[in-house]
Symmetry: C2
Subunit: 256 residues, 2 copies
């Protein structure tokens, strides 16, 4: 093997390795995003069943603890209504409950089931933290502008950072609102103003009328950030973020 052949082989190998690495970072982010959304969906389904089961014993708790984690806390910590301590705010309701008594075995099974749901909820938190880290590594600029979870959802929606970086900012703005977009194109109803990026506090906390312009500005900066991230450019996320905030402020002043 001469030097030329060796050189070619080494380059090919390195290229493959790089490609694989990139591929992996994308895919890990996409897989983690999907896993988290599946955990959300499944814990909701399991929780519905838990409420039916534990509801035999303490039907009023559904109304008193609407939050899934708070409901789980009561079941896991106390089980039977009578175990709720005297000073607990739920004690009176527990005493007056219309629920029936369940056997020891049944209660144990229900508590154990509740623990599994709780463990899944905790798992979700851990995976989300890992996801945030991974997205920040891959797209530091985009994360600075829009936050890691929105960026993760956008990458997952299109399937890769490459594809996402190639999209115009107007597409990024409405991505995830395809249903409304097609209704607009087919039936002529108003076009959607925001899709996945609606989850950004700058948009969903803004008054309804300002959301459209803010979404446009956010998508525009995000689209620049994604291109820089994809081509491994310098960190300009802080600059982009500042510009965005300035533009929104100016826009608001102009409006009022």
């Amino acid at each position: 093997m001469d030097l030329k052949q060796l050189r070619e082989k080494t380059i090919k190998k390195t290229r493959e390795q790089v490609k694989e690495k990139l591929l992996q970072k994308d895919r890990l982010i996409i897989n983690l995003t999907r896993t988290i959304s599946t955990i959300d969906k499944t814990t909701n389904l399991l929780f519905e069943q838990l409420r039916e089961l534990y509801g035999l014993h303490f039907p009023e708790l559904s109304r008193l603890r609407k939050n899934i984690d708070q409901y789980l806390e009561i079941v896991v910590n106390y089980g039977k209504r009578e175990n709720i301590p005297e000073e607990h705010e739920l004690k009176q309701k527990a005493k007056e409950s219309a629920g029936v008594e369940l056997g020891e075995k049944e209660m144990k099974a229900i508590i154990s089931f509740a623990e599994k749901i709780k463990a899944l909820r905790e798992e979700r938190k851990k995976l989300e933290k890992l996801l945030e880290e991974k997205v920040k590594e891959l797209t530091p600029n985009a994360c600075e502008v829009a936050g890691p979870l929105i960026v993760a959802k956008l990458i997952t929606e299109v399937g890769s950072l490459k594809k996402l970086a190639e999209l115009p900012s107007s597409t990024i703005q409405v991505m995830g609102a395809e249903k409304a977009l097609f209704a607009h194109l087919k039936k002529g109803v108003k076009p959607p103003k925001h899709g996945i990026i609606f989850q950004h506090p700058l948009i969903h906390k803004a008054p309804k009328k300002q959301r459209g312009p803010i979404a446009r500005k956010l998508a525009s900066k995000l689209s620049i950030a994604l291109k820089v991230d994809y081509f491994k450019g310098e960190f300009i996320g802080d600059k982009l973020k500042k510009e965005l905030e300035e533009e929104i402020k100016t826009h608001k002043i102009r409006k009022t």
Copy 2:
């Protein structure tokens, strides 16, 4: 309060208690049946995601361990491919794998996620055992004839033992095959021969041509058993089961 009033009150109270007890046994069975089927559905969804995640590292395992529990065992016990011991039948495949390397953190998160799915699968087994006990308590005759899980599914399908006990055997036979039944009524295609009761080994292990008659006979005995159970009659399950087996044997002899 005179004696008559007291008597009436006591009867009323007892009736309520009995009603509640009955209600509870029904409802617990229905809730447990639904919970088990929800766990099946959700663990499948979660497992799909795990395969995507762990598939980054060891994509070949999907083909090598199609069974969910066996797949989970590998992930939970070994994690990284290199941890699979030399003498393990998967070692060679693990060495040749096209999967990429994952960081320690990523692998830890994936293993922990796999453990949660495994725990849910074990929970399901525990709940199924409890369900079997509860169904046997409520409907000993029906369980002897058709097995507790089929009886639980039938009760869940109609919503109570009372309603189920009132149904004719022909309805019990096709319950759970409503789609095929309505296709028969509307489009005149062949009627279904069995619904939920198809899960009984006497039916699904029989040759296709004999399944119809066997399903009819099983449904007939089951319907008697359910009525006896609902009215708290004596245990005649063993007698019914023996009759059923005799009838099927005679039917087969006549056929051949």
